[in-house]
Amino acid sequence: MTEAPKSGGIGFAGAGAGIRSAARVFWTGFVLNFKILSVSPFMVMTAALWPLVYATLAFLMFRATHHAPSLLYAALGAAVMGIWSTTATSAGGAIQQQRWWGVLELLVAAPSRLILVLAPVTVAIAGIGVYSIASTLLWGRLLFGVPIHISHPALFAIAIPAAVLAIGMLGLVLASSLVLYRSASAFSQALEYPIWLITGMLIPLSLLPRWIDPVAWALAPTWGMRAVRRAAIGGDVGTPLLVCAALTVAYAGLSMLLLHHFERLARERATLSLT
C-alpha cells in the first residue's frame, strides 16, 4: 500500500486551508460569478427594471395620500426589495444552472468545501441587487424629488453589505433545498412577493397578523432591512445588524448540512452531471 503523501502537488500546501484560504476561495468565487452575471442581459433587466417599477408604484401610492410613510422609507424599501428580486429569480435555480453549464461536477470534484464554492453564486446574485439600490435611490431623487438623507453613512455602508449577505445566504438555503427539484427556479420566484411582505421591506410588520412575527424574526433579511432603514432614517442600528449577522451565519450552517446531504445523494444517484 502506498504511503499517502502529506499534500497534493502545490495545492493546499503548508498548513492547509484556514480562514484566510476560505475567505479567498469565497471572494474569488464571488468576483467570478458577479462578472458572469453583470454581462447577462436578463440579470441586468431584472436588477434594473423591476426595482424601479416597484419604487415608482410605491412613490405614486404614497404620494396619493397624506397618511403614508415617507418617500425615503419607500425608496429604501424598494431598493432592498430589488435585492430580493434578483435573488428570488435566480438563486433557486443557481445550483442547477451550474449543472447545466457542466461545471457542477467540477465544483464537487474540487477539494474546497462545497459551501465555499456555492455560497458565492447566490451572494453574487444578491450582490447584483446593489445596482438596483443605486438606481432606485437615483430614480427617486431625480423623478420624485425624494430627499436622500442618510443619518449614519458609515453604518449604512455596513448595513447594505449585511443585507446583501443575508439575502444571498437565504438564497443559498433555498438553492440547497430545492436543488433536486426540477422547478426550483419557479418555486423560488414565487417567493418574491411573500418575502417582501413578511420581511417588512415596504409594508410595516405591524400591519400583518401577529402570528407572522416569529416567521419574520427568523428571516435574516428582516433585520438587514431594519438596519438599512435605521442607518438612513435614524434609530438603533446595532441590534438589527447583530441579529442579521447571527442569522446569516445560521443560514450558512443550515446550507452546509443541506449541501452535504445533496452531495451524498448526488454521488449515490449519479445526478451531478445530468442536465
Partner: protein, 262 residues
C-alpha cells in the same frame, strides 16, 4: 372552410405546446397560480400602508392585471414558435389561413390568462375577505375574459416585435411593467400625471379594471357598457395590428431572404 378550421386547430396545438414547453405543471402552479394571489396580497397591504383605497379595490385591480403575464408571455412564445414551424409557411400561402393559424394560437393563451386572473380573485376571496355580490360574479367572469382578450391582442403585437428583436422576455417584461404602473391597477387614475392617464386610456386593462371595480361594488353590466366596448375594441385593434406586423415581417423576410432564419 374546413381548411380554415383545421389550421385554426393546428395553431391552437402549437400554442398549447409552446405554452407547456416553457411552463411545465410543476412550474405552472407556482408561477401562474400562486403568483397572482401573492401579488394581490402584497398590494392590498401596500394600499393599507399608504391608507389608499380599499382591499377590494386592490384585489380587483391586481387580479385582472394578472391576466397580462400569461397573455404576454404566452403569445410571445406562441409566436416565437414561428421559428420552428418553417414548414408551415410553405403550406399557409393565403392570408386567411395565416389568420386562422394565429387566431388558433391565441385561444389557449387567452384561456390560460383568464384562469390566472381567476386565481387572483380566488386569493382575494380566501385571504382578504373579498365578497362581491353573487350577481356580480358572472359579470366579473365576463370582464376577466374580455381583459384577457385585450391582453392577448396586445400580446400578439408585442410578440411580433419580440420575434423581430429576438427577445421575447425583455419585451414582455417591459410591457407588463408599463401596464402595472399606468392602468390604474394600484394607483388611481386621477392620481396619475396627465400624460400617464391619457396613455392608459389606449392600453388594455384600464377600462376592464374600472368596469370590474364598479361591478364588484354592485353596478350592473349594462352600466359599464362603454368601458366594455372600448376594451373589446382595443383588444381587436391590437390583435389586427399585431397580425399585420407579422405579415409585414414575413413579406419583408421573403424579400430579403431572411424568412427561415434560425
Amino acid at each position: 372552410m374546413r381548411t380554415w378550421l383545421r389550421i385554426f386547430v393546428v395553431g391552437g396545438a402549437i400554442s398549447f405546446r409552446a405554452l407547456f414547453s416553457w411552463i411545465r405543471p410543476s412550474v405552472y402552479v407556482p408561477t401562474l397560480l400562486l403568483g397572482p394571489t401573492t401579488q394581490v396580497l402584497f398590494f392590498a397591504y401596500l394600499g393599507r400602508t399608504a391608507h389608499l383605497e380599499s382591499d377590494d379595490w386592490f384585489v380587483v385591480g391586481n387580479a385582472v392585471q394578472s391576466a397580462s403575464l400569461a397573455a404576454l408571455f404566452g403569445m410571445g412564445f406562441a409566436i416565437d414558435g414561428e421559428r420552428w414551424s418553417h414548414t408551415l409557411s410553405a403550406v399557409l400561402a393565403t392570408p386567411a389561413n395565416r389568420a386562422a393559424l394565429f387566431l388558433g394560437r391565441a385561444v389557449p393563451v387567452l384561456l390560460n390568462a383568464a384562469v390566472t386572473s381567476a386565481t387572483g380573485f380566488l386569493g382575494g376571496v380566501l385571504l382578504l375577505g373579498f365578497r362581491p355580490p353573487w350577481s356580480a360574479v358572472p359579470a366579473l367572469a365576463l370582464l376577466v375574459l374580455i381583459a384577457s382578450f385585450a391582453c392577448t391582442g396586445l400580446g400578439m403585437l408585442t410578440g411580433a416585435v419580440g420575434l423581430r428583436t429576438r427577445d421575447v422576455p425583455i419585451i414582455a417584461n417591459l410591457t407588463m411593467a408599463v401596464l402595472l404602473i399606468f392602468c390604474g391597477v394600484n394607483v388611481p387614475l386621477d392620481k396619475l400625471p396627465g400624460w400617464m392617464h391619457s396613455t392608459a386610456e389606449a392600453l388594455p386593462l384600464t377600462h376592464a379594471i374600472d368596469a370590474a371595480r364598479r361591478v364588484a361594488d354592485g353596478a350592473s353590466l349594462g352600466s359599464v357598457g362603454t368601458q366594455v366596448g372600448v376594451e373589446i375594441a382595443l383588444g381587436t385593434a391590437y390583435l389586427v395590428a399585431g397580425f399585420a406586423l407579422l405579415r409585414w415581417f414575413e413579406l419583408e423576410g421573403r424579400r430579403h431572404g431572411t424568412l427561415d432564419r434560425a
